[in-house]
């Protein structure tokens, strides 16, 4: 019968299309997956993500495999005669208990990772991150260094009047500078509406809520520049308040901090929260 052939062919076509998408993605060097990141926590999160993903794939292959086998063999057009069974306590109990076991297997490592994420003890540096509509402010609490970090992509690029740069929309005038190998505590809050501070390479995001303070921590393993974005809708220019973290070796970080302290009076602590959204500026 034509209909069943279509169904069967369609299933194969869909499967083929999906695997094609995977392989094209892999060959074209597109980013398909969560980054492994540059902290112990981000590695944990990545592996957790992959573990759950593969468990889902295996379950999917088994369940859909059975289904497609049935779709192929138990067709009326192949002369299948319907059975009349409609329950079986044994299998029903089984497929309640087995998934429970699998879930427990997932919950154990997830709990471990979560507990480690919540352990902000013994940080060596505390930085307050404040979300504004639409930029970030970084405050090195113990050093009196405090500055705004604003998108530095020129308007012309956004309006398609100039070619877009390599880090289009992911570049700022003043990045957050952090030392490598030190445990840094980050306090998030906001001055107007809720924002969310997210750098994928660090392995988490945290909401910045006006009137409240949240704490997280990170310990970056290698120097580099890591980019992220505000992740909670915060109004018109929510898409235009990126985050750039510049991780420096300890000594260079100290040097940078001393320099910042020296000219702190000149360029920091401006309290005007209504600056133009996309000023030009030095680009990282």
């Amino acid at each position: 019968m034509a209909t069943s052939r279509i169904a069967h062919g369609g299933g194969i076509a869909l499967g083929a299309a999906l695997s094609l998408a995977w392989s094209v993605g892999a060959h074209a060097d597109l980013t398909l997956n969560m980054p492994q990141g540059v902290t112990a926590i981000s590695h944990d999160v990545y592996h957790l993500h992959m573990l759950i993903f593969w468990i889902c794939v295996v379950i999917g292959v088994v369940v859909f495999g059975v289904m497609f086998w049935s779709i192929y063999h138990h067709r009326k057009s192949r002369g299948a005669v319907p059975a009349q069974f409609h329950e079986s306590t044994l299998v029903e109990v089984l497929w309640t208990i087995v998934p429970m076991m699998i879930l427990i297997g997932m919950a154990v490592p997830a709990t471990g990772t979560l507990v480690r994420m919540y352990d902000a003890r013994d940080a060596e540096l505390t930085i307050k991150v404040t979300g504004y509509q639409w930029r970030w402010q970084y405050d090195y609490l113990d050093d009196g260094v405090k500055f705004f970090s604003t998108l530095s992509t020129p308007q012309a690029q956004i309006r398609n009047l100039a070619p877009k740069g390599e880090h289009y929309l992911l570049e700022v005038d003043h990045p957050l500078v952090l030392p490598v190998g030190k445990k840094v505590r980050i306090l998030t809050t906001a001055a107007d509406v809720i924002h969310s501070w997210w750098v994928p390479e660090l392995g988490w995001k945290k909401d910045a809520i006006p009137g409240f303070i949240n704490e997280v921590w990170t310990q970056i393993e290698k120097p580099g520049i890591y980019r992220g974005q505000c992740a909670e809708l915060c109004g018109r220019d929510h898409g235009f308040m990126p985050i750039v973290v510049k991780a420096l070796p300890e000594a260079e970080f100290r040097q940078w901090l001393e320099q910042m302290k020296k000219d702190s009076t000149s360029q920091t602590a401006q309290n005007d929260s209504r600056a133009p959204i996309v000023p030009g500026g030095q680009t990282l």
């Binding site: 307050k128 504004y132 609490l141 306090l187 809050t189 001055a191 107007d192 409240f212 704490e215 309290n271």
Partner: protein, 178 residues
Amino acid sequence: MVETREAGLAAANRRMVRRLLLVTAAMFGFGFALVPLYDVLCQVTGLNGKTSGRVAVVEPMKVDESRTVTVEFVASLNLGAPWEFAPQVTRMQVHPGQFYQTHFWAKNLTNQPMTGQAIPSISPGLAASHFQKIECFCFNHQRFQAGEGRQMPVTFRIDPELPPDVRTVTLSYTFFQN
């Protein structure tokens, strides 16, 4: 016969509607009841780092000299209010059970009298219920004359029951302009 059955059905339907409307009203009320419930939950679990208000009865506590906790002070301004607002010191080493006092500096940068209100938040949230404020500028609205600046005190103590793995407590104030 049919009449009575239909009448009985209509009555059953009316009863059902009444009951379900009652449930609806109750759930509407429940939405509002969640507000005080949430506050209770916050007090118990320290959800969101909300602190309790003024401590009514100051009971003596044993000072735990063997333990030192770092208290960090953080100041933020809401909506870029035209104020200066900063802690006097950014951190203090304290012993649980002992009273301490520190100050926050605030200044009205406009040429008009202004009123503000500081809202406290504590991190980690678990520490909130172990953080007692005996005196705090956050208990009241603060009125400032044009250009006036002053130090505002906060007197606090950390309960020795503070979970042992908490070593740093952040006390944050956000200054809202009224």
